[in-house]
């Protein structure tokens, strides 16, 4: 089967190769000499021992948790909102997909312009509304850059969350609400006792997929801040890129991305279990 061969070559090979490279001194010199000496755990020791490692792990965690929380809460609110059918609701719901369909780097570029400190429209609006006395250095201050990057990632992730949660809401039988209404469960009570328990399976899938997708985000951060300022937005994914493709230290870059794989795999296993349970039920 050609597909099996393809998957083996383009997924199996990279993963294995990447695992091996993690244990090798693999630099640009390797390309000329063909030599990549085995160095055991030296790459991992270097990565974990480097001052930047703590920063990247903390940033990755903050970026992931912040993005997921924002995307999920707003996505759920949108999904609940669109569940009430009203004129134009279908048109509006499909237009909402637009941020998700655009090339990420195109969305990133307009955000970089919006967040521009001196002439960006966001600071302009904040100034006109007298909400900020000084222009906020969204992308150039280590204090707020991570917040800005999370904001953009939330914007990009809302359509995905809304779409999946909306389809989950559609599968909850209307009779449940009718029966609940007889028992006095309306509004918030109906959400808590009917919607939420029935949506749990979809919620789990959305959250786990969200984590997996967020962990590998590279383009948004590179486009907005390049990992800066002062590594304030450097995550495991961008650090792996930086090591491999800017410093050409493929060994340590591979080590960082292997750590990333392990984290993703943990969530992938959770996902498959959750998904299977969702199918079984």
């Amino acid at each position: 089967m050609p597909a099996i061969a393809y998957v083996v070559i383009f997924f199996g090979y990279p993963v294995v190769k990447n695992l091996m490279m993690g244990f090798q001194e693999y630099t640009t010199r390797t390309f000329y000499t063909g030599e990549a000496p085995w160095v055991g755990l030296a790459n991992y020791a270097e990565v974990v021992g480097s001052g930047i490692f703590r920063t990247t792990v903390v940033n990755t965690a903050l970026f992931t948790v912040g993005s997921i929380a924002g995307q999920f809460v707003i996505g759920l609110l949108f999904a609940l909102f669109f569940k009430r059918r009203f004129p134009l609701s279908n048109v509006l719901r499909s237009l909402l997909l637009l941020p998700w369909l655009l090339p990420v780097i195109a969305g990133t570029s307009v955000w970089k312009w919006i967040l521009d400190q001196d002439s960006g429209v966001l600071n302009g609006i904040l100034r006109d509304l007298h909400l900020a006395s000084e222009p906020v250095p969204w992308l150039t201050s280590p204090d707020v850059a991570l917040v800005a990057v999370v904001l953009v990632n939330v914007w990009l992730g809302i359509p995905f969350n809304t779409t999946l949660l909306y389809s989950g809401l559609q599968e909850i039988p209307e009779e449940l609400y009718e029966a609940g209404a007889l028992d006095g469960a309306t509004g918030w009570k109906a959400f808590w006792h009917i919607t939420w328990p029935n949506l749990r399976a979809v919620v789990n899938v959305v959250l786990v997929l969200g984590v997996i997708y967020t962990l590998k985000v590279l383009d948004i951060i590179l486009g907005l801040t390049g990992g800066g300022p002062a590594n304030a937005t450097q995550t495991l994914a961008t650090d792996s890129y930086r090591r491999s493709f800017q410093e050409f230290s493929f060994g340590t870059g591979a080590a960082v991305s292997n750590i990333l794989i392990v984290v993703s795999l943990v969530f992938a296993v959770v996902y498959l279990r959750v998904n299977r349970r969702a199918v079984d039920e």
Partner: protein
Amino acid sequence: MKKSTPARQLPYTVLGVLLLAFMLFPVYWMVNTSFQGGGTAASSSFFPTNPTFDGYERALSQQTDNLLTSIVVAAGTVLVSLAIATPAAYALARFRLRGIAIFAFGLLIAQMIPGIVIANSLYTLFNDVGLLNSIPGLVLADATHAIPFAILIMSAFMRSIPPSLAEAARVDGAGHFRAFWSIIVPVSRNSIITAGLFSFLFAWSDFIFALTLTTDETVKPITLGIYDYLEGNVQSWGPVMATAVMSSIPAIVLLVFAQRFIAAGALGGAVK
């Protein structure tokens, strides 16, 4: 739920339009700035009161080659992905071979591997076989993103085709391949279109492989063209936004003309 009159639902429509306007403001801002031409950053206003095409002229003079590269790479990815994924999807849906379950499991996991991992090792592999800075190299790399997705989308549909359909053709003397080609492919047309459209979008929007697997100016997709602007200190956003608008055209076209396929893909890819 009681049927409410359109008049009572009007507030929802108004609120919905406002929410959407808020969400799509960045897209509006992209288009708005793109028509404010070569002016400096400070001169941009809320509406393109004096629309000019200067931004597009500058963008086209710098980015035409990159746009063509993106088109070729995306089209190539669709061909490669569908050629590999369609028969694989059918095999996955129909045959109960040993190892198929493992293969399906592998596909799910494959979708979750961070692109940087694949880029890291493909770079060294492509360096050895001379595929760096080449269109075939980018097509093969982009197909890694598209193929698992395409297989999962199509096999989900093909599972719903009654086996008797292909068997009838076999009874009439057609081989496995003929039965597949003349029965399964036409019946599955919609899911194949969905898979193809998404393969196109994936490859068109690809950033990480373009960034890592090209090192010079010879092969440069439009996404990298945008990134080059962002890396420098942007003096004039008109051309940058004009480029971003042009790079968004396929997504907008798909959203307008192929809405039902998009909805199918958005759900199928994530839930399956």
